[in-house]
C-alpha cells in the first residue's frame, strides 16, 4: 500500500456510523443512506446517529459520534453543508479519521458561502488528519461487503474497480456494465475529494488484490504528476480505462463548475495517455465495452482484423468503420481464399475481407473451419463476427441463437489464441426481434464473447485494445 493503509479500512470498512440517519419509515428514499445500507445488507457493524431516535431499522441509535462504543472505520455525513464543520470537529475529537461527506453545497457551487465552508472543512480535515471523500459524493460501493449508500446497485461481486469524480458516472458504469456482464470490486465516487483524491484512490486500486481492471472518470486532478506516475506504474499489470472530459471549451466550463477543479490542456492529457498506457474512452458505454474486451480477450499482436458477416453494402460500411478507427483490414491471400472456398459454397458468398458469407452465418457447422483459416493467417490479429439479425431471422428464427451458442461454447477454440468478438445489426421493429437479440446477448455474455452494440464501437474498441497491447509489448521490451 502506498503509504495509505487507512484507505483500506475506509474502503473496506468493518464498521460504519451514519450521521443524520433518517428515522424509521417504510422504504428507503434515495437520500436515506442508512436505509440503503440496511436494505442492501451491509455486513459490518452499523451505527445510526440521530439524537431524536432510539432505534432505527432495528439498530440502536446514538445521539452523536462521542456516544459510540468504538471508533468506526467510516463515518458517513449526510447533513446539510453548514453543519458539516461541526461533525468534522467531532470526528477529529473522537478519533474517527475516515469520512465520507455526501452533502453538497461547498466549493462546487461556485458561490461565496460554499467556498468559505469548503475552506473551513479543508482546514479541519488537514489539521485533524482526516481522510475525506466528498463533499458532493455518493461514496463507496463494495458488493462483497454489501456496502452501498444509493439505490439500485447490483449484488454481483467482481474485480472491476472504478474511481470517479461524478456520481452520475458511477451509477452509469455500474448499470451499463452490469448489462454486459461486468461486476465490481470497489466503486468510489469521491466528488470534490477533499483530502483523498484520484491519485490516492488509483494507488489503492492498483495495489488492491480484488481488482484486476480499473476504470477512471476524472475532470481534473490536484497533482497530475503523481497521478501520471501511479497510472504508469499500473497499466502493465492492470489495464486502466479512463474518461477525461474537458477537451472542448463547453466541457471545460462544465468541469469547472462541477468540481471546482481545472481541466488541463487536452494536449498534455493526450501525452498523459500516450506515455502512461491508460486507455482513453469517451463515454460510459465505451468504458464498459473496453473494460470487457481488455479483461476477456487475449492481447492482439497488431491492429489487423477480419470481419465475417453478410451483406455487400454493410461489408463496405464495416470496412470504413474499421479504417476510421485505425484498424487494418488486410485482403485475404489467395491460399486463404482457396481454403475458405473448400468450406463455403460459391453461390452468393463473396470471399474477401470482410467475408460476405450467408451460408456460414446460418450454418454453425461451417464456422470452425472458417475461424481456423482466418485465425491462422499471420497477417490477421483479430476476428469480428457480425450478426445480421433480421436476415438470419428470415432464414430461420433459431439461427441467431445457434450461431451465438457455437461462438460462446467453442468459438475461441478455433482462434489460435487470437481475439474473437461479435457485433450485430437489426433495423426492424417487433417483439420477435427484441426477443432473439436478448437471447443472443445473454448467450454471448455468459459465454465470455464480448458483444458490441454496433460495428463502429466494435472497431473503436478493438483499435484501443491493439494500441494497449502494443504499449504493453513495447514496455516489456525495454
Amino acid at each position: 500500500m502506498q503509504g495509505s493503509p487507512g484507505l483500506d479500512a475506509m474502503l473496506k470498512p468493518e464498521s460504519i456510523a451514519v450521521v443524520g440517519a433518517s428515522r424509521d419509515k417504510p422504504g428507503a428514499s434515495w437520500v436515506d443512506m442508512f436505509g440503503q445500507l440496511v436494505e442492501f445488507g451491509y455486513r459490518g457493524r452499523l451505527y445510526p446517529i440521530n439524537p431524536k431516535a432510539d432505534v432505527i431499522r432495528g439498530h440502536k441509535a446514538y445521539a452523536g459520534l462521542t456516544d459510540l462504543p468504538e471508533p468506526v472505520d467510516l463515518v458517513i455525513v449526510g447533513l446539510s453543508a453548514p453543519i458539516v464543520p461541526w461533525i468534522l470537529r467531532d470526528c477529529v475529537a473522537t478519533g474517527n479519521r475516515n469520512v465520507h461527506i455526501f452533502s453538497a453545497g461547498f466549493g462546487e457551487t461556485g458561490e461565496e458561502q460554499g467556498k468559505v465552508l469548503q475552506e473551513e472543512i479543508t482546514k479541519i480535515a488537514v489539521e485533524g488528519g482526516l481522510r475525506v471523500i466528498g463533499p458532493n459524493s455518493m461514496g463507496v460501493f463494495s458488493p462483497r461487503l454489501r456496502l452501498v449508500t444509493w439505490a439500485g446497485a447490483p449484488e454481483a461481486v467482481g474485480s472491476v474497480g472504478i474511481l470517479t469524480q461524478s456520481g452520475g458516472f458511477a451509477d452509469g458504469i455500474i448499470g451499463y456494465g452490469s448489462q454486459i456482464g461486468l461486476s465490481f470490486s470497489t466503486v468510489v465516487n469521491y466528488g470534490t475529494g477533499l483530502t483523498v483524491d484520484a491519485s490516492d484512490l488509483l494507488e489503492y486500486l492498483s495495489d488492491d488484490p480484488e481488482t484486476d481492471t480499473i476504470g477512471v472518470y476524472l475532470e481534473g486532478v490536484a497533482d497530475g504528476r503523481r497521478l501520471f506516475d501511479a497510472v504508469a506504474r499500473t497499466t502493465r499489470d492492470k489495464p486502466v480505462v479512463m474518461v477525461k472530459p474537458g477537451a472542448s471549451r463547453a466541457a471545460r466550463r462544465t468541469a469547472a463548475s462541477h468540481t471546482g477543479s481545472l481541466a488541463g490542456d487536452d494536449r498534455v492529457w493526450q501525452a498523459f495517455f500516450a506515455q502512461s498506457g491508460a486507455i482513453r474512452v469517451d463515454s460510459v458505454q465505451e468504458m464498459a465495452h473496453t473494460i470487457d474486451a481488455v479483461r476477456r480477450l487475449p492481447r492482439p499482436a497488431g491492429n489487423r482484423v477480419a470481419v465475417l458477416g453478410t451483406g455487400g453494402g454493410s461489408s463496405v460500411l464495416a470496412a470504413d468503420a474499421c479504417s476510421r478507427a485505425g484498424l487494418d483490414l488486410p485482403p485475404l491471400s489467395a491460399e486463404a481464399r482457396a481454403e475458405l472456398r473448400e468450406t463455403i459454397p460459391a453461390a452468393g458468398n463473396i470471399i474477401t475481407n470482410p467475408v460476405d458469407a450467408h451460408d456460414v452465418m446460418t450454418d454453425p457447422a461451417q464456422m470452425p473451419a472458417v475461424l481456423k483459416v482466418l485465425s491462422s493467417q499471420e497477417y490477421l490479429d483479430m476476428v469480428v463476427v457480425y450478426f445480421h439479425v433480421d436476415w438470419m431471422y428470415d432464414v430461420a428464427p433459431d439461427r441467431i441463437a445457434a450461431l451465438a451458442t457455437f461462438l460462446a461454447e467453442s468459438g475461441s477454440e478455433h482462434m489460435n489464441g487470437k481475439p474473437l468478438v461479435a457485433t450485430w445489426r437489426s433495423y426492424r421493429s417487433g417483439p420477435e426481434y427484441g426477443k432473439v437479440i436478448r437471447e443472443m446477448r445473454e448467450i454471448l455474455v455468459d459465454g465470455g464473447i464480448p458483444l458490441f452494440p454496433d460495428i463502429d464501437s466494435t472497431a473503436r474498441t478493438l483499435a484501443r485494445l491493439a494500441e494497449y497491447s502494443g504499449f504493453v509489448a513495447s514496455a516489456e521490451a525495454t
Partner: protein, 226 residues
C-alpha cells in the same frame, strides 16, 4: 502555438533570456544550434561575417527582444561587408536601445521548418512540444506534447503523432529527417526542464532540417522566473 508566449499570459514574474543566452543553454545540453558570434560594433560585425563565411544573417540580441522579425531586427541573406554594415545600423535603429549586441550567423537554407519547446505545466511539470514550425505552427496548429522525462521511444512516438509526420520522410527529393537526432533534442529539452526549476518555457522555432536531414536550432528563446 508558442509554448512561451502562452505561458507568459498566465504568469507575470517572468523574463526572457536573450537569443544568445538561450542558444548557449541549448548548446550546453548538446542540442545542435547554429554558429553565432555576438558583436557590438559594425567593424566586429564585418569581421565576424568574414570569419563565418557569406551569406550571413544579423539579428538583434537582447533579453525581452522576442519578436525580432516584427520590429525589423533580423536581416537575412547578407552577401557583402557593405550589406552587413548597413544591416548592423538598421538593427541598432530598429531595436532602439534594447540590445545586448548583435548576432552574426551563417545563413541556413532549409525547406522544412519544425518547432520544439518545453513548458512547465501546472499539473504535470515540464512537458516537451514538437510540431510543424515557422508560420505552419500558427496556421496548422500541428503539435504534440509529452511529459518529461522522455524516453527515446516517447520522442519517436511524438514525431509520428503529428498530422504532418510525413514531412519527416524523404519528401520531394529531400532526405528523410535524422529522427535519432530529433529524438535527442526532444529528450534534452525535457531534461532542461527537469534540471532547471527557474526555466518556465523554451521555444525552439524554427528548428530547421538541413541538407542530409540533420536538425539545427536556428532561433531560441528561454523564459525564466525572476
Amino acid at each position: 502555438m508558442r509554448a512561451g508566449a502562452e505561458l507568459a499570459g498566465r504568469a507575470g514574474e517572468m523574463r526572457s533570456l536573450s537569443e544568445f543566452e538561450s542558444r548557449n543553454v541549448l548548446d550546453s545540453y548538446g542540442i545542435p544550434v547554429v554558429d553565432a558570434t555576438l558583436v557590438n560594433t559594425q567593424q566586429e560585425a564585418v569581421e565576424a561575417a568574414a570569419g563565418t563565411g557569406y551569406p550571413v544573417v544579423l539579428k538583434g540580441c537582447g533579453s525581452g527582444l522576442t519578436h525580432k522579425s516584427e520590429v525589423g531586427a533580423v536581416k537575412l541573406n547578407l552577401t557583402t561587408s557593405a550589406e552587413v554594415a548597413s544591416a548592423f545600423r538598421a538593427i541598432e535603429a530598429a531595436a532602439a536601445g534594447g540590445l545586448d549586441g548583435i548576432l552574426v550567423q551563417p545563413q541556413i537554407w532549409a525547406t522544412r521548418e519544425l518547432v520544439a519547446g518545453m513548458v512547465r505545466d501546472p499539473q504535470f511539470g515540464p512537458c516537451v512540444m514538437f510540431g510543424l514550425g515557422g508560420i505552419y505552427t500558427e496556421v496548422l496548429d500541428d503539435v504534440s506534447f509529452r511529459i518529461a522525462p522522455l524516453q527515446e521511444r516517447d520522442a519517436m512516438a511524438m514525431m509520428d503523432s503529428i498530422r504532418g509526420a510525413a514531412i519527416l520522410g524523404p519528401v520531394r527529393g529531400t532526405e528523410a529527417a535524422d529522427r535519432a537526432a530529433l529524438a535527442r533534442i526532444l529528450v534534452s529539452l525535457g531534461r532542461i526542464g527537469l534540471e532547471n526549476d527557474s526555466i518556465e518555457a523554451i521555444d525552439v522555432n524554427p528548428l530547421l532540417l538541413q541538407d542530409g536531414g540533420f536538425p539545427v536550432a536556428v532561433d531560441a528563446a528561454i523564459w525564466i522566473t525572476r
